[in-house]
Amino acid sequence: MSILEQAKQAAQGAAQSVIQKAVELAPESWLPGGKPDPLIHQKHGLIGKPVSRIDGPLKVQGKATFAAEFPMDGLLYASVAFSTVPKGRIASLDTSAAEAAPGVVLVMTYRNAPRMKPMPVFMSNAKAAGGDNLPVMQDDRIHWNGQPVALVLAETQEQADHAKSLIRVTYEAEPATTRFVEAKAQNTQPGLFMGQPMKQEIGDAEAALAAAPVKVDVTYTTPRHNHNAIEPHAATIVWQGDELLVHDASQAVTHTAWSLSEVFGIEESQVHVTSPYVGGGFGSKSLWQHQVLGAAAAKLTGRPVRIALSREGVYRMTGGRTLTEQRMAIGAAQDGRFEAIIHTGTVAMTHHNAMPEPFILPTRSAYAARTFKLDVEVTYLDMIANTFMRAPGESVGTFALESAVDEVAVALGMDPVALRMVNEPSEDPTEKKPFSSRNIVEAYRTGAERFGWTKRNPVPGSVRDGEWQVGMGVATSTYPYHRMPGGAARLTLTRDGRMKVEIAAHEMGMGTSTAQTQVTADRFGLQLDQVDFAYGDSFLPGQVLAGGSQQTASIGASVVAAQHAMVAELLKLAGNDSPLAGLRADEVGGMEGGLAKLDEPGRHETYASILSRAQRDEVAVVGSAPPPLETMHWSMHSWGAMFCEVRVNSVTGEVRVSRFLGSFDCGRILNAKTASSQFRGGIIMGLGMALMEETQFDERNGRIMNPSLAEYHVPVHLDVPEIDVMWTDIADPHAPMGARGIGEIGITGVGAAVANAIYNATGKRIRDLPITLDKLM
């Protein structure tokens, strides 16, 4: 028995699956009028159980093969030299010493790199995955400080790194725009997110604000951030004739394969991208120049190449979250009702990408208000392309929105939870659509009770413990439900009664493979150890980005579609000699390793029996998920209430978060254990954002000065208190499995919950992240 199977069996025992009746097939579309996924009502199966990650034993034994660990004969190791100016031309490039260094096989620069097209930049096409659309080592132009200018291939990593240090480059620098304030003064343009304008006005918000008896009109700022996945970006790359094989660390295998085929002018089918394990992505593990350069160098040498970025390399070559400057204004009536919500501001972006950090997104749906004014303006800097980072928009947007709501509560003398309840909308306030499921009031009620919110002293600075001032804060967290087009899955049933699911999805440590194994087992009436979930391979069906917290829904809808095809095929094979004879697909469901009539479970035949009688070794079908029309009919969002207790040292300004509770409303939770980890991980990342994370971008020359985990601070264990998480578990009737996806919501609202708690502790309102001690002295 393999380690994986042993783990599954152990998990199986722990989960105690008891399937008592057949589970009918889920709907083929998620349109209005359709029935909800019957799995929502499956309360005694595997769904929801705290099943341990089935890939856990492999990982703790070091047997999971990550991108930089694929063995290959004749492997060469890459090292990359980066530019030190933000803009200009390479004036001189001396690679002679590097070429003469021991073990060096190739030094690649713009002079000898193969001709390639730029990467299709993300969102320019449904399958585009590129972080930027600049020429990749094709000319002498420099576009950002840190751009790759040379790549060395050598027999060992050490030889490559040493040879790289011998490369001498000089630049003809040109005037660059690297200062945000100056760029903003020169030019801003309305930002387009996913091709859609973010500018929106409902009523005359400025007039309503001016007339409102209570108002807050302030500016919040958030700095640049970098992702810092524990696994730095890496790829092992080989050309097999005209076919390119890339073992990548990816959250977009299909997109990467297509995009690389565009870069090299070959067919999509000639590029094979695998990514079985990923050590964290958070939005950064897409296609950046390193995979392109690695493939180009592999082509030139005819040998396989490993390009594993150093931590510094990650900062120089892959983008992070951009800075934001947000005007947040709320006008309220004396009873607390919002008359006006204004959320506008400016973010920095580049001319070579299209990611205007959409900080207004949470404000679209969070509160009822009579008038709205929303806008994200973009200004352009000469810097590395910024990109998606966990809850892009919502993470930094909720800092402004939820801090401002707290400020309004203070101005009104109202409890901040009560103020939020007063402004609870009956429908989506800007999209004017009904909510698919919104139980934020429940999340607040249960969260407040568990956290002990009523014990909070509303007078700032009134609770003290020696040198420490103690305070509590609260904030709403929110993230939308997404299901992107293109989901598809292949199901293969074998005569031993096992089901294999194959889909080009991703496991970055979130627990995808475990949760989807549970779902599939319940859907088909199988045991956990009878399901194999295969993913992380661009040759598998589907185009499933691990982004936007959408994998769960996308995979779920794809498997549902494939199940319909599979059941139809099985009923055909079952024929007239089966207890299932004459039944239609909508009359049967999965139960006890086979199919059964829904209202007459005695009419049952196992999958093994059906295949055996039909003398088939296996049955394989592919199903494609329907278009995500549900999001056109409903406003679909997850919600949460974040409660935080902080201690602020009155001598030094040091902040310690002493308690945290996240109370979530995310639809049905598929795996209590992996979900808890997702929530907690998001909250920890939020604590980092609140208190310490900041990419030091030197505005004099656009250089990132802290490209290291020593100087870019993320929380250490001692910074993280016990984090309590809970959820409503109220299924969303319009989502597959009733589940809305939970990967990103955990980081949202945390910044404001911390800032609001600090205000309660000290009476100091900090509107500029991170909240370092100097701001509290």
């Binding site: 040091e654 030197d698 000065m705 290291s708 020593a710 601070h713 250490v716 001692l718 001690l773 002295m777």
Partner: protein, 329 residues
Amino acid sequence: MIPFTYARAANTADAVVHGSAAGAKYLGGGTNLVDLMREGIEHPAGLVDVSGLSRDITETDNGGVLIGAGVKNTALAENRLVRTRFPVLSRAIVAGASGQIRNMATVGGNILQRTRCTYFYDDTGSRCNKREPGQGCDAIDGFNRIHAILGASPSCVATHPSDMCVALAALDAVVHLEGAGGKTRRLPFTDLHLLPEGRPDVETVLEPGELITAVELPAQPMAARSTYRKVRDRSSYAFALVSVAASLEMDGATIGDVRLALGGVAHKPWRAWKAEEVLRSKAATQATFQAAAEAELADAVPLKDNGFKIELAKRTIIAVLGELSGVSA
């Protein structure tokens, strides 16, 4: 990494012979030097491994402690004599780095560790007078939150990052050295490190090849009442923005004697002589503590990002003195 030779020293004399060769560097635990070699900042021609030498902690005749330069940081922090007679030193050590690093790092290496200025580390993209004398300093107008407020120069505003050394500065430690030809000398610890002035690349008064063999802590009875307080940007694994090491002897309500040193504020562990002068024989009051802190920071010069350190240093000094004297605000 540039090729280099490696030799494990058999004894101190052997070490000094190897260490006097051109381009040679002594290797302790390697927790800083090897990092800097990998980053391309240090490129010694040869490493002389002295981590196996002088690993004893012994009590001296007069009640002090002699610490071999090869003693691991963890061993020193755990030592019973140190914990009872010089608690400030134990506390300073465990306030620094991580358990893993402290298990490797030696006393000698800790003393000679180099600054964490990010411009010093950026050998390809930034100017640094410490790395390349005369090149210029990009930190002075750059990110300088962690930089010096005392004793800096137009050439360099870097700080010394050690916690342990702040305690040694407060404890009147004496450094034992051995140089070429077996020449030995002793030096007050506070005279070992230099301020940057025009040559920030020269960080100590050590002569070429001279090796730190031991650190001696003379008896200091009042050090039994000593502590270390470190203020930083996260709970652990961060360098001090400001730290204070202090020993205090009370004579009734009067300060009998005091030792005070600051970390995170200067190019060297900063002995607070001026503050001590103000404190000695004065009534232990908040006003006295305040006057001492003001005196020590009177010459402080803020940079763009680190002005808060002046107030932070004062507050931390006052809080530590309050804690040790029992006279709180």
